[in-house]
Structure formats: C-alpha cells, structure tokens
Subunit: 413 residues, 3 copies
Amino acid sequence: MASAETGVAEWREGHSLPQSFYTSGMTFNADMEMLSTSQWLLVDHESRIAKPGDYFLFEFGAESVIVIRNRSGDVNAFFNVCRHRGSRICLENEGNKRVLTCPYHSWSYDLNGKLRGAHLMPSDFDPTNVALAPAHVRVFEGLIFLNFMKGTPPDFDAFCAPFGALLRGQGLASAKIAARKLYPTAANWKLVVENFFECYHCNSAHPTYCSVHDKMKMLAFGAGAGSGDDQDTILYQEKLKRWEEHSEGLGYPVGMFADNAESVYFRSGNRLPIADDAKTESLDGKPLAPLMTEFGVFDGGQTGCVFNPIGTVLVNNDHAVIFHFIPKSAHQTDVEAIWLVAPHAVEGQDYQPADLMRVWDVTLGEDKTITENNQLGVNSARYQPGRYSTQERRIAEFAKWYMEAVSARPQAL
Amino acid sequence: MASAETGVAEWREGHSLPQSFYTSGMTFNADMEMLSTSQWLLVDHESRIAKPGDYFLFEFGAESVIVIRNRSGDVNAFFNVCRHRGSRICLENEGNKRVLTCPYHSWSYDLNGKLRGAHLMPSDFDPTNVALAPAHVRVFEGLIFLNFMKGTPPDFDAFCAPFGALLRGQGLASAKIAARKLYPTAANWKLVVENFFECYHCNSAHPTYCSVHDKMKMLAFGAGAGSGDDQDTILYQEKLKRWEEHSEGLGYPVGMFADNAESVYFRSGNRLPIADDAKTESLDGKPLAPLMTEFGVFDGGQTGCVFNPIGTVLVNNDHAVIFHFIPKSAHQTDVEAIWLVAPHAVEGQDYQPADLMRVWDVTLGEDKTITENNQLGVNSARYQPGRYSTQERRIAEFAKWYMEAVSARPQAL
Amino acid sequence: MASAETGVAEWREGHSLPQSFYTSGMTFNADMEMLSTSQWLLVDHESRIAKPGDYFLFEFGAESVIVIRNRSGDVNAFFNVCRHRGSRICLENEGNKRVLTCPYHSWSYDLNGKLRGAHLMPSDFDPTNVALAPAHVRVFEGLIFLNFMKGTPPDFDAFCAPFGALLRGQGLASAKIAARKLYPTAANWKLVVENFFECYHCNSAHPTYCSVHDKMKMLAFGAGAGSGDDQDTILYQEKLKRWEEHSEGLGYPVGMFADNAESVYFRSGNRLPIADDAKTESLDGKPLAPLMTEFGVFDGGQTGCVFNPIGTVLVNNDHAVIFHFIPKSAHQTDVEAIWLVAPHAVEGQDYQPADLMRVWDVTLGEDKTITENNQLGVNSARYQPGRYSTQERRIAEFAKWYMEAVSARPQAL
Ligand code: FES
Ligand code: FES
Ligand code: FES
C-alpha cells in the first residue's frame, strides 16, 4: 500500500494527485485531522440558531459538535460527549435546550458547558472541574466557523481579514436561511474540491450554468480568482474593469485575491458580474428574492469567498449560497448547499425556494455524477495523475497546497 | 491505534474503559476468544430441544454450533462444519434430525457426531477417525451452557455451585419457553453489559421499570447484588430482612453473593422482593402465568442469577427471563430475551405472551436506544473514561474484572 | 492472521485449502493479480459487439475495461480511465460509440485509443504521446479473451492450440447470444471453482442435472476430463468408445485432454455424449434450437472447453453456454452464464430463452446455495482442510495448481 511519503515523492507539479490520496483510508484520517485543526471549518449560518438555547449538531468524522446559543447570545460549541460515561447528549439534529441534560443518567450542563448536576457521586468527585469539551467557535458575517485544535486555534481575525472589504454592505450577516439540500457523493473530498474549483468541465457538463454566466468570464474566472486560462483572463480584463467602475459608482466593493500554495490557508475572494443584464444568478437573470444589500440597487455582481477548500460562500445581490463539503470516508463526501435571503423576505411571496435553488441544484446534481465517475476511474490500477489544463490553474494550486499540508504531517501518518 | 497494552496502562480504577476497548476490532476478536474459552456461555433453555433429534443453532462470531439432543436424551454440541470440505451441515435455525447429513456431498454423521457414511473415498481414508468437532456442553437447571475450549473446559460443577441453593424449588429446570425476542443493538457488548448492571439510569430512562419495582430496592440492588450505593444498601437492609424471614417461612430460599474482580468468573446471585404487594414483575404486580414454584404460594421474590457478564436469568414465581448478549462486532451486539413459564401453562389461556413480555420488552427497547447513543459518544476523540457513581459499583467491578482478563491475554493480541 | 506462506506450508495434497485461502482479503488481491496477468480471461462472445463502435464494459476488481470493435472490425480493449484526471469514459454497460469522449472535460479518443482532442492544454503538452491504456485482447472461435499484463502477455496461439480440433465445425465462432444471467454468490471464487469441477455433489444437490445426464458418465466425467473416479472411468470407456466411433462417422471431432498441475494453465477439453438418445442438454433430450454445427446432423455430444478455472464453455449441437466466474471480494463471486444459438435462429420461433436456460439455470441456482453454505462453514475456526474423494480428482488437481501459482508469488504478498 502506498504510504503518504511515497505519494508525495511520486507527485509532479501541474498534475493531479497519485492514486492513494484519493483512495486510502489512512490518508483520509490524516486529512480529517489536518482540516479540523489547521483550518476554520465553515459549518452554517447563525440565523439557524437565532434564540438562546437554539442549537444544531455538526457532524465531522466520528465527532458530533453541539453548536448552541447561550443566554448571553453568544455561540458556543461542545463535543456531544457526556463526561460521565460518554453518551451523546443531544440526540436530535437541531432544537432548543434550556439546559444540556444527558439522556443516560441525567448529568446536566449549562449552556456554557459547565456541569450543574450529577447525583450519587463519590465524595472525592469534584464537579467544578467537569465541563463539556469545547470546540473553538467564531462568527464572521453571520457565518459560523469551528476549529478542533486542542490548544490555541489559528488567529481568526487574521484569517477573516481579507474577506471584510469584499463582503461589505451585502447583508450576509443579517440574512436568513431559506433552504438547504444535501448531495451525498461517492467520491473522495479532494475530487469534490477539484471539481468545484475549475470551470474546464462547465462546457461539457453544465448547460444550465453556462446559460446563466458570461462565457468570457467563465474562461477567465469560471471557478473564481486564479482559476482560468491566462490569455482568456487578459481578454476579459477590460470588460471586468468597466463593470467594476460601474459597481463602485453604485457603492459596491470590488476586488480579488487568492492565497498561494505556500499559505496555511487556501482562501480566495472576488466580485464578478454574473452576465450582461443579469441581476442575479437565475435562469433569466431576474431577481429571485428582495435585494439583500444596503446599496438600494442591483449591480449584478457575485461575491465569492473561499474560506478553505471545503467551505465557500457565493453572495449575490438578492441571495447567497453556502457550499460546504463534509468528508465522510475515503470514498464518500457530503456536499451541502444552504440558500440565504434577506431577513424580511417571505417564503412563497417574496421568493420560491425551488426557483431560488434551481441553478445550483441542477449544477450540483451534475457535479455529483461527474465526480463519482471520476472516483471510479481513479480507483483503477491504470489511473495515472494527469496534466492540468490552463483552465485548471486554481486546482493545480490546490494540489500544491495539499501536498505542502501533507508533507508537514508527522511521519507516522 | 491504541493497543490493548496501552489501554490497560491508561485505565484508572473507578472509571469507564479507555476508548479502544469499545471500538477496536482487534480487541473485539480477543474478547470473543476470552468469552468463549474462559466462560460457560448461557445459550438457551433445554425445553427448546425436548425430543431426540431436536436441535437449534447457536451463532457466535464466525461459529455456528449445532446443539442437539441425541437418542439417549443427552444434549450434544457440534461445530456446524462438515469434515469433508467444510460446508454447513444444518441450514435451518432449528428443527429435528434423525441423522446429520451434509447437504453438499451427503456425508452423514450420527447424533453423537461420528461419521457414518462417506462414499467413493480413497482406500487409505479411515472414516472411524472422523467426527464433527464438539463444543463442550452442560445443562444446569434446564439451562444449556457451551464452552469452546479445545482442551479441558472450566469445572462446570464448581461454576454452578453457588446458584444451586438460590434456584431450589422454583421450577426453572422443568419450565418451557413461551416467547423470545431479539434486540439488535449498535453498540459494543461491554456497553451493553455496563448498561445492564447498573440502575443509575433507571430514573432517567425507565419509567415503566421504575413503576414496577420498589424504589428503595432499586437504589440498593437495582442491578442485583453489589450494584447499589452503600448508604442506600444499609437503609434497605431492615426491609429486606423482614421479607426474607417471610419468604423462608413459605419455604423459599433466600440469600445473595457476588464474585469479586479477581475471580475468573463474574457471577452473582440474589433473591429480592419485586415490590410491596407485587406477586411478580408485572405492571400491576399481579401474576402473569401459573405458579412455577413448588411452594404452592407466591412470595413475590425474584431470583437473579448472573452466570457471566453476557448471561443472566431472572426467575419470578410465575415466569423467568433469560437474557443473553451475543457480541456481533466491535460496534454491534444482539440482545436476546427468552421468557419461560410452567410446563403445563397454556398460551392464550394461562398466559398472554404480550403481557408476559411487556415490562422487559419496554425496558430493553429503552436500553437499546441508550446504549447506541453511548457508543456514538464513545467513538469521539474527545471521549474520556468517566468516573462511576456510587450506584454503579457493580460495573466498576466489571471494569476491573475485564481489565484482569485482558491483562491475562497473550501479548500478541 | 495466516500469511500465504503459512498457508502453503500447512496445505497437504489431496485436501481442500487451508482457511485463509478462502477468507483473506490480501490473498484475494493477490489472486486477482495472478488471474488477470497469468491467464487469458474469457469475457464474452464477440457477437455482443457485431458492428464498428459497439462496446461493452468488463468489470474485474477495481478495473473497468472497454471492449470495443474499431472501424476496421478488430476488437480493442482499453482501461476505462481518462488520461486527463482519470474519469470513467464509458458510463453505460454497453452501447455504440463513434469516438470515446470523456464526459468530464470532453477529451476524446479514437477507437484505437489515441487522444484526438484536448483543448486549452499547456504548450509543452504533447497529445501524440497520450492514449488510453490498452488491455491485451484476443478472439478465438468468437470468444473474447483479455489479459492485463503490462508487458508481453502469454502466447495466445499456444494457449488456444489444444482447443482447435475439439471445437471444429460446431459453429461457436458464428453463434449469437440468446440470453445471459448473473448468479451473485456469497463465496470465495475458489469455492465456486471447486463446486464447478466435481460431480461428487450431483446426486445430493442436482436432481434436474442428474435426470438429463448419463449416470455412468457422471461418475466418470461428470465435471469433465480428469474429474471422475478411476474405476468408474474404466467402466465407462467402452460405452464412450462406441459413441466416439459413431460421432466420428458423422464427421464430428472427438477427444480429451487436461493440463496437469505443473502447467501455468489449468485447461481441459473433451467431447462426451449427454445421454443415450439425448440430442442436447435439455430436460427431454430434444433440441432447444436449430442445429449449430456444420455436420447436418445431431450426434448428442457436448464439447467442454475449460480455458482456466474461471472460464469455461460447453458446446452442444444446438446451443452453447459460456460460464465465467468473476471474483468480487474474498467472500463474493459473480457467476455469469451466457447462452448462444445459431446466428439465424429466431427468438420465440426457433428457440424459447426460458427453455434454453432451464437445465443450467436450475443447476446454477442450486450451486449458489451449496457454495454459500460451504463458505459459511469454512469461516469457522474449526474448519479443517478435508480429504477429496475419488470423484473429486480434478479439484485435487486444481488445489495443487493453485498452490503452485501461490508459491510463485513474490514473498511480499
Ligand atoms: S453518560 Fe451522561 S449521565 Fe451518564
Ligand atoms: S462438504 Fe460435507 S459432504 Fe462434502
Ligand atoms: S477527466 Fe477526462 S477529460 Fe478530464
């Protein structure tokens, strides 16, 4: 069986990864460790837990994390493991709790995780030292992020800094969840990531997506900053510049950035127009919901924020979509999309969930099929890492970033 | 991966076990070996195979054992593996056989396992040396026990000795099976055992069970001898003594014992009253079936006999329940309950199976849920062995007993 | 866990294999490697892909192979893995393609596997060096064979040589597929093979098969050349000789051969009569389809050709049956049967598929049950390799052949 070291040695820049990185269970476990400790994982929007006591469970590998709003309105996160004999404490996927009571022997914890009650314990048992194990949790623009590091987590403010300007004024923090859908995908998470960060496949596989987006833009920035062919990017510059001047005139932010492979993060951000005359990412370019931004007018832009390879948000003028990819095993990944609209928008009146979801629902369905067939081929002994095209520059960078992360792993893995 | 040795070193007395003991496949295999060779496994009641040729299959790991009554009325046990090319011989879960004929090439064995017929064999093949591989089998009070040791099994009489007096006169040997039900539980067998041998969770989880049993007794002896809080046990002593004098007056045996953790066995026994005015373990305390005992009168007692951590029988005045837990994998256990009544009792007239089963059917259903949620929490990297309460004394002893058994294992495991 | 070396040392000639050969996942992987590189795998009949562009997929382990007829009418075989990022190229089990276009990013290959189109590739990318990875493919008497060796495959003509004379004039090459059926069997492929190459179980397990075939022949050659008891073989010689003279008089070939265990192949061939007065392998001995042979008359013979342990064809005067066993895991094998008839035969008029399939459909269904029960018994720690009878001589030879093949493996496996 190829070890991680063998795989690293085998890999050549500009090529997809050696087989074992897409198929090995040991690599999968190491990936989960890397993702949950070195990255801030985008888990949901805080409108899901608006009131004190509201909680949801975030499942990641063997871990279940209770993300809950406490009485002061802060968001806390605790591993869903009782400190008595380890039972799960919250059994429902979401709900509201005044206190966290274990269903097994009724040990109870307050919303800050402190043990409040445990009866019949030996006299030398000190309950004041006992609390639920916390996960690091932060909120930025309404987005909830988790980190599982046992010690100090990565600096969150530094992590978020590049996104602040790009998201200004677009109402993401105050948005509310309108819909969510899961696309369970029988493929390694890195194949899901590679699929998401290139638009080389858009022409073959996504007729709907192509009918919505500017063709020249798709060649230059189809999967965001740094994703397209160099020449196509130059060709598109002038058009983009004209749109940026127009948007800035309306008060909107503009700009673009992308971490390179040496960074511990793999972030990128950009504001790009959807298509000529399109107000939002809809089949006909017309709005799907009330304006979310503070600028009083549509600029037809889409803000893309990639927080890490498995967590992205796309913010249109009238709605936003969170994408997160939850690795389940070496051969399985849950892709989830969460659609957001303005807080005052009324379902059935101001927006229709099915219409809101259409473009990405079709596209993610297509991506599921593509990616599963990619995995099946990669399982073959005759799979060889292949050369990336010039329209796959961002995933060439991802492969490099990932190999850096792998090389940094303890040798034992 | 944590090895057994690491786990043993990590464990602290008074605490639940380190994670790997509840999750590792290698530990599971070693546990199966330990249970099947060092213990006498309680498999069923012999009324299941009343007539010569009657048999049933007992499945344990990869093993299927034919438990069959021979022409002399003795109970034999054979591994269900043909000595020709290894086919299963009996394919049905139970039935009656005059001879054991392999369905593949018709080799046939008599009810003592001897090869009787094999045609067209080479001339140097000696059929007189060929027989089905036996398992050790013994019967005590109608209960059938198996042991898989290849050499001499543990001394059965010594093993049974402490139970004789407690079971005297209660009709267990002559009882008949009235009902059976399986509760497949997605949890390690040791979590099932821990659940069964403490009543710390009764208040939170078992309203029906609590409505049936004396509250003070549940605190003192809710899961049998040695299970309760010391102070509660003292408080209950006087009440228990009064009941014991009454029972002895009626001719019933009384008493209590429990192996400690140094013993190779983990046996315990006790006779306890169910509740004031209760004749048996039923919702209203009224009998569910005709009296099984030879004493002509109800004393409302329940005889608990724990033969090993995965085999227990509870004998009431009018019915008994066998509980056995069959480990299926590191994360799965089959809990089976078998209800027994007096041999002459007529179904639908003298007893209703659904009523007979009610209290434990409800309770075991609740236990399944609890235990599965315990496993899910224990799977977390943040699970830590927790401190046992004073009402979990018997499972603190079980943990100690189990760690002794593990430490005795060959290092290779 | 028993290694292959331990297993080899443990094995005694004349006995079935030690347990690990039937249960170990590592042995299974090594078996797949051995079968696909040292043998010519019988995969289908070329009438399945009659026209240029017709293809089907052959699945073997993690491999999917596109078997396709090119514009010149030759049969090609390519691993179904795109040379870009490894997607499967053909997604349907069979069909017709003018060009092989990858569904992911539309790289396209011609029917000889050459890359024809890949857009937006870096300037130093040389498409002329890129082609689909080929599998070795050959056709003999209409039967398609594959070999996965990366270098030079075994000499195909030498491999086929012994079958030529036996198959002469029987219309196999020009036949067409009339029906196919899969029998997924929960057993190791070697248990399937052992089942197929002995008729010691026919009496116990196959009443239908026994009612069709000559009893004396079944004892002598029930599973082909070298399968029966020596004495029974001698007894049958005279009858066989008489039939052979009759057949030769009609123009048919006769004869018999079998590789011994030292050969790299495990081939055998024979022509045998089905039963007195039987024209073909049907319930009543009457034809099921028009005559396939060039001799204008039925001789009631059946030509058996065993190309390797997992690929056999039986050719009757009016129809043929291909049997191939596709190992899926250590505990699972797909048995597939493919029925062939003369090219001009018309379904529903000249033959009824259900009637055509009957004898083997019943027999393979029975074999599935038998073999699955064999696997269950072999899983037991008490399974011991058993002595073969004198009617299992061919599988005694198979065991020996297999142990030779295993001993030749690199030690690391
Ligand atoms: S496991 Fe939570 S209270 Fe016991
Ligand atoms: S396997 Fe039992 S008779 Fe052959
Ligand atoms: S994987 Fe086939 S064209 Fe990209």
